[in-house]
């Protein structure tokens, strides 16, 4: 460390810090962000709801056991009939059911609150004058959103799997294509589905982050995100607008069933991940552009 870069009180210019120290300092900020999000009573309550629904689903299906193979051939229905045969499907059913509203809601709350919530509380100015650094803070915010998406999906899948194992038999998994694979293979596919769905939610979270930089009213961002999620899913069912379907943010969310066929249609999964990636690039980019120049008057 050269003396020229040290201030009167021994402070070191952040830019002059070695990369290793900068990374460690960022991780400290990231952990602080994690605590704020994951220890917040409201967010804990939301995770609680996410955990309870697979339990209720399992109990309902145990009491009112569907005949194997029953239910409509697509959407949530395609899993309902299989739950009684194999508890692993309770995990998949839970993901499908919660992906329509509750998972997007949870991500909307966390991502919508990320910057707008801080602006509303006034803590954004506190953090920026520390100085947390606008880009450092935004990066930490988005990293926590992504982490939350994974945590929420893993939670739903894990509780579903646990309840499935308690209430139903568990064994080799019969895929949608009719083939049967070992339980280990089935669980590996479930893990891939969890990652895929988390990526879809992370893309949705990027939209939330971008909108969140525009206002200090977090509740408005959350409402807007829910409208986006619901409208996107509705439009996705209307054949007359099929031309725009591939561009809808939720279009690929349920396409994870490609992972439940043999052979796996990787092209569909690839397209899905590409769509999520494009959404992340565009909206994270908008968030960056906005936060770099925004006047913080809250």
């Amino acid at each position: 460390m050269s003396t020229a870069s040290a201030g009167l009180t021994g402070h070191v210019r952040p830019a002059a810090l070695p990369a290793r120290v900068q990374v460690r300092a960022w991780l400290r900020l990231f952990r602080s962000e994690l605590r704020i999000v994951f220890l917040r009573p409201r967010n804990l309550a939301m995770l609680g709801v996410l955990a309870v629904i697979p339990v209720l689903l399992g109990i309902v299906l145990r009491i009112n056991t569907p005949t194997p193979g029953s239910g409509p051939p697509s959407g949530a229905g395609q899993f309902i009939g299989q739950v009684a045969d194999n508890g692993v499907f309770l995990s998949l059913l839970s993901i499908v059911v919660l992906l329509t509203l509750v998972l997007p809601l949870a991500v909307a709350v966390v991502s919508g609150d990320s910057v707008a919530g801080e602006a509303g509380l006034g803590t954004l100015r506190t953090l920026l004058t520390v100085p947390a650094g606008r880009m450092r803070l935004l990066l930490a915010k988005y990293a926590v959103i992504v982490k939350f998406c994974f945590a929420a999906t893993v939670l739903v899948a894990a509780i579903g799997l646990l309840m499935g194992a308690i209430l139903f038999p568990v064994g080799p998994v019969t895929l949608l294509s009719g083939d049967t694979v070992s339980l280990a293979d089935g669980l590996a596919r479930l893990a891939m589905i969890v990652v895929y769905v988390s990526c879809g939610l992370a893309a949705f979270g990027a939209i939330g982050l971008a909108l969140s930089t525009l206002t200090q009213h977090a509740i408005g961002v959350m409402a807007a995100l829910l409208v986006i999620a619901v409208a996107s899913q509705i439009l996705d069912t209307i054949q007359q607008v099929s031309a725009i379907h591939p561009y809808l943010p939720t279009h690929y969310w349920l396409m994870f069933d490609a992972l439940l066929r043999t052979p796996i249609t990787w092209s569909v999964i690839g397209q899905g991940l590409l769509s999520f990636g494009i959404y992340i690039v565009i909206f994270a980019g908008l968030a960056v552009a906005r936060i770099r120049t925004a006047n913080v008057t809250a």
Partner: protein
């Protein structure tokens, strides 16, 4: 290395025009000497907070430039802000966290702060502002004075060369105001330059060495407190039952700015001496019940500069 004295804050033509077209800050040239306690005064809405937001990089000036601790804002304020403690427009923390947790969050956000000493530094900052006993209470439950002090504690987590405090006494009772004042004195005694804004001159008068006075976005005075006092012209005040004759006599003596009410007449003293005026009045047969030479109070000068307030004399 130059041995020239670098101002803690220096600005040239610093301006902020809001999108509404309103010119909130109109070309101000600040110069805050290092080691000073600089009172940044002005009525509410005169542009103080907007200026402070610019100095801290929260908003971007529409014209002019400035340096903080010798670093040009264009080089990146993040380089210098770790050496600046700040409290902007009242304290802002997470209501669901305790005072201690809130400070831990601020410290975690500072890329230059050493995590190994965080616990000790947070404890020390809480102690300095007298919040150690309430450290684990939720911020939600703090009184306004405690909130303000926590805001200052956040600025004390690491040694600073400059503290920028925006209205730290706003909304406090006299006891709370006194606490903040003694805190500011302490900070300044450690060699930190303090830039403190207030809309009440009386609140900072006792602690400031320098003042800058804002009025509708312009810096209408800047200098030492003594220089501000020196601006006030001494006046002569005469208590008499015959104000009309006294006025006539004063104007004969060449005094200007004469005004009177029922029992008193005042005029700018200029170069005349009070005893001479007294003698002249008595010689002219004006009954002088009382006579004194008065300097306008700082408060009067402040009001005169900012053109604010109603005439309390009726």
């Amino acid at each position: 290395m130059t041995h020239q004295v670098t101002p803690a804050i220096a600005s040239a033509g610093l301006s902020m025009r809001f999108r509404s077209g309103q010119l909130a800050v109109d070309g101000i040239d600040l110069e805050v000497p290092p080691g000073s306690v600089y009172g940044f005064l002005g009525p509410n809405g005169s542009g103080k907070t907007t200026t402070i937001r610019m100095l801290l990089g929260l908003i971007h000036p529409t014209a002019g430039h400035f340096r903080v601790l010798g670093t040009d804002a264009l080089e990146g304020l993040d380089l210098v802000l770790p050496r600046v403690g700040a409290l902007v427009e009242g304290p802002a923390f997470y209501p669901f966290l305790s005072g201690r947790e809130n400070l831990a969050r601020c410290d975690a956000a500072d890329p230059t702060a050493d995590p190994r000493t965080a616990r000790a530094r947070i404890g020390k900052a809480l102690d300095q502002v007298g919040l150690l006993a309430a450290a684990d209470k939720r911020y939600r439950a703090y009184s306004l004075g405690m909130k303000q002090r926590l805001g200052i504690a956040a600025g004390l987590l690491v040694p600073r060369d400059l503290m920028i405090l925006d209205e730290p006494t706003n909304g406090l009772d006299p006891q709370g105001t006194r606490e903040i004042r003694s805190l500011v004195k302490q900070i300044a005694a450690d060699g930190t330059t303090v830039f403190v804004s207030s809309h009440l001159l009386a609140e900072v008068e006792q602690i400031c060495s320098h003042v800058g006075v804002m009025s509708t976005g312009r810096l209408v005075f800047q200098g030492t407190l003594a220089a501000l006092r020196g601006r006030g012209e001494p006046r002569i005040l005469i208590r008499t039952s015959e104000t009309g004759r006294a006025e006539k006599e004063l104007s004969r003596l060449g005094l200007s700015g004469i005004s009177s009410d029922e029992e008193t007449v005042t005029a700018a003293l200029g170069v005349e001496r009070p005893e001479v005026i007294n003698a002249e009045l008595v010689k002219a047969g004006v009954p002088v019940a009382g006579l004194e030479s008065v300097r306008p109070s700082l408060e009067d000068l402040f009001v005169e500069l900012t053109g604010e307030g109603f005439n309390v004399n009726g």
